[in-house]
Structures are given as structure tokens and as C-alpha cells.
């Protein structure tokens, strides 16, 4: 099966083509974390993780709470 290149928080990584976001988050150990996700600068709600298929060169931002002013 073909692999695709993804940019996870600006780090390059590879997964199989056709991987849904939900599976990618598991592979990257974010599945049980309190995070929010954007793909190519667009917010992806949690309810859409299962059907959101990742494509070659997608940019994925995964964020978590930090202190802020």
C-alpha cells in the first residue's frame, strides 16, 4: 500500500494512504489526550475524526492547553 507524507506540527512523518485522522491520532499517541486538531489550517471537530481521510502533504496541527495571558 502507498505511503503518504504528512507534516505533523511541522515534523515530517509517513502513514499509509487512506488513513483516517482518528487512526493517525492513535498511531501518534494522541488518542487519549485532550487535544484539538486542524488540518491545513482548518479546524476538524472531534466528531469528524473517523471520516476525515488524510492526504499526501497535509499539514496537521495538534494543540493542547498551556498557560496564557
Amino acid at each position: 500500500m502507498n505511503q503518504i507524507t504528512l507534516h505533523l506540527n511541522d515534523q515530517t512523518t509517513r502513514l499509509y494512504a487512506g488513513t483516517p485522522l482518528a487512526e493517525a491520532l492513535q498511531a501518534w499517541h494522541y488518542a487519549d489526550r485532550r487535544v484539538a486538531v486542524a488540518v491545513n489550517g482548518e479546524f476538524v471537530p472531534r466528531s469528524a475524526y473517523a471520516e476525515r481521510i488524510l492526504h499526501d502533504n497535509d499539514r496537521i496541527d495538534i494543540v493542547a492547553p498551556v498557560g496564557g495571558g
Binding site: 511541522d10 485532550r34 489550517g41 482548518e42 479546524f43 496541527d61 492547553p65 498551556v66 498557560g67 495571558g69
Partner: protein, 267 residues
């Protein structure tokens, strides 16, 4: 320390006993932050979102501390450089923190971290349409603030001076003009370094104060949080009491009638 029960702050139809909003960055430890929040008496704290390694788990622990504080959460869009970025981060915050509140920041200049008025207004309009409770971090420009109010922002947060400077209220004329011309709640956000500056803002009629660095970077953050809380209450009481008119010439406070030794100096 909170104000009197009958002098509450209302933001988007929600009521707050405290007029002090506190940031959660830059503390030396989570414990110090926790104690500072408690000492401040604040009921709303700001926080942010950043990329994080899944192995750290720091975000979960941090969020749990804030939940335990009982404060309402005000996520920010700090660091965003465009309306698009800020809107996306606000949407991520709403899901993660389960709140429609957002401190909207769109930064226009790296040197003084000045808000970008054009991006800010664009993002505010969009987020209000999406049901967010937007508290925009803005400059003290009157027309910008009027446009933000007209866009549906029910409270505004003009800067005192640039973030993290501690310079206090840099442009009193502009801030006084905002207070005179706008009837929405106004919270001074950013630039305050000393409790006296917070008092000054409250005496001018501002509705609240949001700060972070002045407490987090004090030698004793917990005591400083308490000092700011007292200063904000003092300033608010003074505003409600009504300050005297200033005058250029001296006027004795002790009655001159009945003065003994009247005009007999040297006799």
C-alpha cells in the same frame, strides 16, 4: 477580595463578583500559579493552546488545575497573525475547553505585539456570527473600538501598554475618550506592572483589569496577586465614590474662621 455584592461585573449576561482577570503563563511552578489564582480572588483566567508532544501530558495536568480552581476559562488566540488563524484557533479552543468565551488576539507587529485592527475586526465579526463570546484585545483607538462594539462585541479589552512591559496606562487621553464614548464594559488588558496602575485604571471608570506578567514575574507572585486584587477594589470604590475636581491653587482644608493668632505672626 471582591467588590460589594451589588457592584458586580457583567460580561455577555454573565455576572462576576471580581473585576480581576488573571493570566496563567510564566509562573515558576503550577503550585505558585494555583496559589496566585486563589489570592487574586479572580473568577476568570486566561489560557492558551500550543503544539505539544503527546508524551508530555502537561496539557492535561495544567487544565485539571484550572478546572479545580473553579474559575471560568477564557482561552486566547495569542500569537495569531491573521483573522483566519485566530478563527481556527478559537474553534479549536471552543471544542477543547467547552466554552464559547474567547480572548481574541490578532497580532499585527512583532516589535510591540500591537493588535492588528483590521484582522481583529474581521475575526470578531466571524466569531460572533458563529456564537462566540468575543473579548477582543485591542488598541485604544476609538473608532476601532466603536467598530468592534458595532460588530457585536459586548465588552472590549484595550491595552494599557504593550504586553509584558509593565509601563501602565501609556495614553490616558485615548483611554479616557474610550470610557466617555463607549457604554460597553471595558477591561484594561496588558501592560500593567504595578497595583497603583490598576487602581488608576479603575478610578478612570474601567470595568476590570486583565494581567499576567506583573503577578507571575513578581518576587512573590501570591502576595502580588493579593496586592492587585486590593488595588482594583480600591480603584473601583474610588470611582463609585466620585473623585474630587483637581485645581491649580491651594485651598486650606482646615477652617480659617476662628484661627488663633490671626495675622499676629512676628508681633
Amino acid at each position: 477580595m471582591n467588590a460589594r455584592d451589588d457592584d458586580t461585573l457583567t460580561l455577555y449576561d454573565e455576572t462576576f463578583g471580581s473585576r480581576f482577570l488573571l493570566g496563567t503563563a510564566l509562573y515558576s511552578s503550577p503550585t505558585v500559579m494555583q496559589e496566585a489564582i486563589r489570592a487574586s480572588g479572580c473568577e476568570m483566567v486566561t489560557l492558551g493552546l500550543r503544539r505539544q508532544n503527546p508524551a508530555s501530558g502537561d496539557g492535561d495536568a495544567f487544565w485539571q488545575i484550572l478546572r479545580d480552581s473553579g474559575c471560568r476559562l477564557l482561552p486566547n488566540t495569542a500569537g495569531c497573525r491573521s483573522a483566519r488563524e485566530a478563527i481556527t484557533l478559537a474553534q479549536m479552543s471552543r471544542e477543547l475547553f467547552e466554552t464559547p468565551w474567547i480572548k481574541l488576539e490578532v497580532i499585527g507587529d512583532d516589535y510591540n505585539l500591537q493588535p492588528d485592527p483590521f484582522g481583529l475586526l474581521e475575526a470578531a465579526r466571524e466569531l460572533i456570527d458563529q456564537g462566540f463570546k468575543v473579548l477582543p484585545y485591542c488598541t485604544d483607538d476609538l473608532v476601532l473600538c466603536q467598530r468592534l462594539r458595532d460588530a457585536g462585541c459586548q465588552a472590549l479589552m484595550p491595552w494599557g501598554s504593550p504586553i509584558g512591559t509593565g509601563l501602565g496606562l501609556m495614553n490616558r487621553y485615548a483611554l479616557q475618550t474610550l470610557r466617555q464614548r463607549l457604554d460597553v464594559p471595558l477591561i484594561i488588558d496588558a501592560g500593567l506592572g504595578a497595583p497603583s496602575q490598576a487602581t488608576e485604571a479603575m478610578e478612570m471608570g474601567f470595568d476590570g483589569v486583565l494581567l499576567n506578567t506583573a503577578v507571575a514575574k513578581a518576587h512573590r507572585p501570591v502576595q502580588m496577586a493579593e496586592a492587585f486584587a486590593e488595588a482594583i477594589v480600591a480603584g473601583r470604590k474610588a470611582y463609585r465614590a466620585g473623585l474630587m475636581q483637581q485645581r491649580q491653587t491651594a485651598s486650606p482644608s482646615t477652617p480659617t474662621v476662628g484661627q488663633p493668632f490671626w495675622h499676629r505672626a512676628g508681633s
